[in-house]
Point group: D3
Chain length 131, copies 6
């Protein structure tokens, strides 16, 4: 059922989103993710608007944002997302050393998250003033 | 069973780790996390050595690493880890705007990870050359 | 080790479960899931009895139940379960618009779950009277 | 840092979102979730617009949508979200029998998702024509 | 809504399950988990029958089974389940050293699971003959 | 980018880790996991040292540790880890009946974790003295 929809077969509303993706990202065609989402034009439009707004440079630069996106995708085990945001992070400047350190932090965070839960560690009072 | 162990009651091996944590982080006392891990001195020592090595500045700066750590902790719903690494990220320079954008990326990644899995999106060939 | 067991090679106890699955679902053969579970006849029998009881129409109709099953499978990133319960939901009447809205809710819930955890939002008192 | 922002202390942009939430939901005050998100007005506005669009009645009725939202929140173990969407589902008509069946499906889906992954079950070809 | 149901207020069907739990486990009262599940007698009965069957000694002893149950509960971050199955594992003979090693394995598995996903490691052919 | 590194192309530091893995495990070649990690020699060395220390026999035997590792990998849905630790558990003596019971416990734990969260079950006081 959720087959990808290519530009040639897309409705005007879907084409408008595809055109904006291509113009914003300076690419010839949109990724499979957007072609599948096109089955639900409302979700396609809303998701693209959100991604475009969130991933624009702001207090954090694009490379940092893509690396955080990749970190979450790895933690969730989402194969498509690891590939697509791995590629996006690389295009945004993530080199091999950065990727190695990113993975090290992701792995360590997943380890210590379980140690904290398993040892039932209560929150330190001092954190409350900081966060 | 897994009660916290304070410095005064700690074995020399545990004290040595606590001393290194305090010296490295320039703090008066270690967080509850380490006091609970002290029930298993081997895990305490190994975890601290790994954290110290991984969280040192390298290809990524400390602030970026703490924000990635926080992002994973939020995604896993680990209350202690959100509080402790939220505090650590703030000490490392994360301001309110950065936190807001970090959370926006974490939320969006968790949303699109499920959209990609649910629509059963196949990996685009072009990603393979990039990642 | 956990190879699938076909009807022809199954023990009488496994065949009895397979026969009940085929009769209940009006299908010619059982899905791969059951053929693999057949390696552990106790788990096969118990799981089928539970699924049959839980997925029968009750306060919720079958289509709603299959869509909830699919929502969880998507959230867990279980490829087999997304395919099998996607197919089951479709057979039970889920059309494209329903699937689109289901995915939108699943995505949004995964996003806001993290926002709630990350911002450390305390539970509103008013909820206690309602749930 | 991420302290809740009440209406009296909110900026005009935040107040506009709060006013729309109160009008749409016919409530006197917004939930804690929105007061915390108000620390990042862009995320507040975007999240509310998305929630309003996604949770409106469409191919699926509001009660079904709230129950799916609750199912995901339970599966993620998000305490705030379980309480808030449990209350919302109840207001939308979920009775005790529906909640019981919802939980039974959520539990069973989480169980069989792991059985399918652990037994390494390959996807049945027949599913491809259906989903 | 999902308030606990005590023995004195329970229906005969619920009391029968409570009696069996108390007799099987040789305890004076059932845990809160069962009192809450009692809101849905079908789920109460089915869950107890499954737990009783699965947690009985078999190819694996009770202590090993409770430690695996605890490991999953820690990995899922379920606070109630960590406390209840931590207590059960301890009653079944898990001492402090065993708990420490259990947590170390749980932490390491959660770390390397992400490293394997993030580095996109393909399955070694040799594993297929073994598992 | 994260392509596997074979022994012939590895640096002396990487070869030293590979040699230790081969000697410790008495195998001719290391698994793909280590060849991919070799892209980040610091993570390779640290991860191997941790795995070697944690998976050595101690208060828990190797078979129990590998089964816990497998249980977490199944719960996380990590395909590579299920295959590699399934093979390791089998080499360490896990037979078909043990695997069947392991999977039954993993499935049940994932089910009851969600029931406990969804019914918002408070922790029984009696657990505090035990765990």
């Amino acid at each position: 059922m959720p087959k990808p929809i290519n530009y040639a077969d897309a409705s005007p509303a879907v084409r408008a989103v595809f055109d904006d993706i291509k113009a914003t990202r300076k690419v010839d065609d949109v990724n499979n993710f957007w072609k599948h989402l096109a089955n639900d034009p409302a979700t396609l439009a809303r998701t693209w608007e959100s991604v475009k707004e969130i991933m624009a440079p702001g207090a954090l630069d694009v490379r940092t944002k893509e690396m955080i996106y990749l970190a979450i995708s790895v933690s969730n085990g989402c194969g498509y997302c690891i590939a697509s945001h791995g590629a996006a992070a690389r295009k945004a400047g993530m080199d091999e050393a950065m990727f190695g350190e990113l993975m090290a932090v992701v792995g360590m965070a997943n380890e210590t998250n379980r140690l904290a839960d398993g040892y039932r560690v209560p929150v330190d009072e001092r954190f409350e003033n900081l966060f």
